[in-house]
């Protein structure tokens, strides 16, 4: 099994979570959208697989490099 931890590239807030744990996900598909400095930052899956875990909630503040979700394939 390949496991990929998706980490935040910025300090910001989780604006919207689009996929729930257990959802199938395609490479490049947006799992959640972060908001920082009035900019929307999509968090995309690096590969085809399954969203194994969502580790944050909407409106939660996140730090750079914080793990946001786990995708497995």
């Amino acid at each position: 099994m390949i496991r990929h931890d998706l980490e935040s590239e910025v300090t910001g807030t989780v604006w919207k979570i689009l996929l729930a744990p257990g959802s199938a996900v395609a490479a490049g598909e947006v799992i959640m959208i972060l908001e920082s400095m009035k900019m929307e930052i999509p968090v995309e899956s690096p590969m085809d697989g399954t969203v194994a875990e969502i580790l944050v909630a909407e409106n939660e503040q996140v730090e750079e490099d914080q793990c946001l979700a786990v995708v497995t394939a």
Partner: protein, 446 residues
């Protein structure tokens, strides 16, 4: 008018405080916990804290701002840009509290804030608009309207701005899903799920006109600004005059826009934004009912002080006389962001030393030691160069950007420098695709 509350932060708060100081008016600044330490707090007559850091709790907190206005004895409110600047309810609440709102009357904020209503108003006055729909109410109506407009078609929210919630649709099969998604985003971001369709213009130029009205039929324009150099639908660089366009044609459009503002009885400052296709067709985009970030470009070429004009018009004074323009002005926006990924960069400004150079104006609301948080936009400073030619203005900006010392956050200075040195840009070949083309070229470089 004696005391002005500035319901904003950063460079524009500082800019308004300066205008108040020069006019002999007292000024009241407000600050969130994140903006404690901003240089303009001591430049204002008084500064009041806004508890919290989130925009919703601070600079968007209308009731708290009005309470501070009362407490401080302010008799006018300047909203700056962003936050509550185009919020008709806030403007109305300011007026209801017996204070002067420094901007157009609330009904103009409401009408121009509704993109469908604004588009129809300008179309009814004979200003060119691109093919588009009314507010969408059913998928059948959307399909019919899209077929009339022709694909690709743009789905746009009627509220909001900054390109948020916009979507391009290539064929009828995708339309229903795209409209539904745009509605969701618009409802979440702007509290209004209304969307409409408009012709999609690939690689347009963005040209806007600075307008002034006295609310009694009088109006004038202060020329155009070219604002096509953008990333993520946000402007990076603005200039005037617009390069490679027919002066007489631009003057005619600006006169037409000013005529409409006069006929409507619009008051105070406004900016008419238009798109220009590569074939030279022009169409209404939106009317902004506030001072623009890039107002300094117009100030440089005309010698006007647009903030003082706003204050004078709000106080019932007459319009200034028409002005000739001189030379070429160009502004770049220095953002705290990674020049490669364009992602915002937060952190403490360990070093922040703006350059002091002849012919270069720097507007900033920051000083060293402050921390940039994710809560507000990433603009660190504006650099505005004025010279007798476009080439000299570009040269001044290059020197200014290289001399601007910032440490603690990443800045987009390398990207701005790449734009200012790009052959196409130097030749005046600008459109909204320019930044992406330059980034693609830079990425290929070894």
């Amino acid at each position: 008018m004696q005391k002005v509350l500035i319901a904003n932060r950063g460079a524009i708060a500082r800019r308004v405080i300066r205008a108040c100081n020069e006019l002999g008016l007292q000024s009241v600044a407000v600050y969130s916990e994140a903006d404690l330490g901003a240089p303009y707090l001591t430049e204002a007559t008084a500064a009041y804290p806004l508890a919290g850091v989130h925009a919703a709790h601070t600079y968007l907190n209308a009731s708290r701002l009005l309470a501070i206005a009362r407490e401080s004895g302010a008799d006018a409110v300047h909203p700056g840009y962003g936050f509550l600047a185009e919020n008709a309810d806030f403007a109305a609440a300011v007026e209801a509290a017996g204070l002067t709102f420094i901007g157009p009357r609330p009904r103009w904020l409401a009408q121009m804030g509704d993109k469908v209503a604004a588009r129809e108003l300008f179309a009814s006055q004979g200003f060119p608009v691109f093919a588009g729909s009314t507010l969408l109410t059913s998928s059948q109506q959307a399909l019919r309207a899209a077929a009339d407009i022709g694909y690709p078609v743009l789905v746009k929210p009627t509220g909001g701005g900054g390109g948020m919630g916009m979507m391009t649709v290539d064929d009828p099969a995708q339309l229903e899903v795209a409209v539904a998604r745009a509605r969701t985003v618009a409802a979440q971001a702007f509290g209004d799920g209304g969307v409409f369709l408009e012709r999609y213009v690939p690689r347009p130029r963005h040209i806007e006109f600075q307008l002034l009205g006295d609310g009694q039929g009088g109006a004038l324009h202060l020329y155009e600004r070219e604002c096509s150099v953008q990333r993520r639908n946000q402007k990076l660089l603005e200039e005037s005059p617009a390069p490679r366009l027919d002066r007489a044609w631009l003057e005619q459009l600006a006169q037409q826009a000013a005529g409409i503002v006069g006929d409507l009885g619009y008051d105070n400052l406004g900016t008419l934004e238009t798109l220009l296709t590569p074939q030279g067709e022009v169409g209404f985009l939106e009317m902004n009912t506030r001072i623009q970030v890039e107002h300094g470009v117009t100030e440089a070429i005309t010698g006007c002080d647009l903030v003082k004009i706003q204050i004078a018009l709000a106080a019932g004074e007459p319009l200034p006389a028409a002005r000739p323009r001189q030379g070429h002005a160009m502004e770049v926006r220095l953002y705290a962001e990674d020049p490669q990924t364009l992602l915002p960069s937060t952190g403490r400004l360990a070093v922040f030393r703006p350059p002091t150079l002849h012919g270069l104006r720097v507007e900033t609301g920051y000083q060293a030691g402050q921390t940039l948080t994710p809560h507000y936009d990433a603009m660190l400073a504006k650099l505005i160069a004025h010279a007798d030619t476009r080439e000299k203005a570009i040269g001044r900006l290059l020197v200014g950007l290289k001399a601007f010392e910032v440490a603690g956050v990443k800045t987009n200075a390398p990207l701005l420098i790449a734009v200012l040195q790009d052959e196409g840009f130097l030749a005046g070949q600008v459109d909204t695709g320019l930044v992406d083309r330059i980034r693609a070229k830079e990425a290929k470089r070894p």
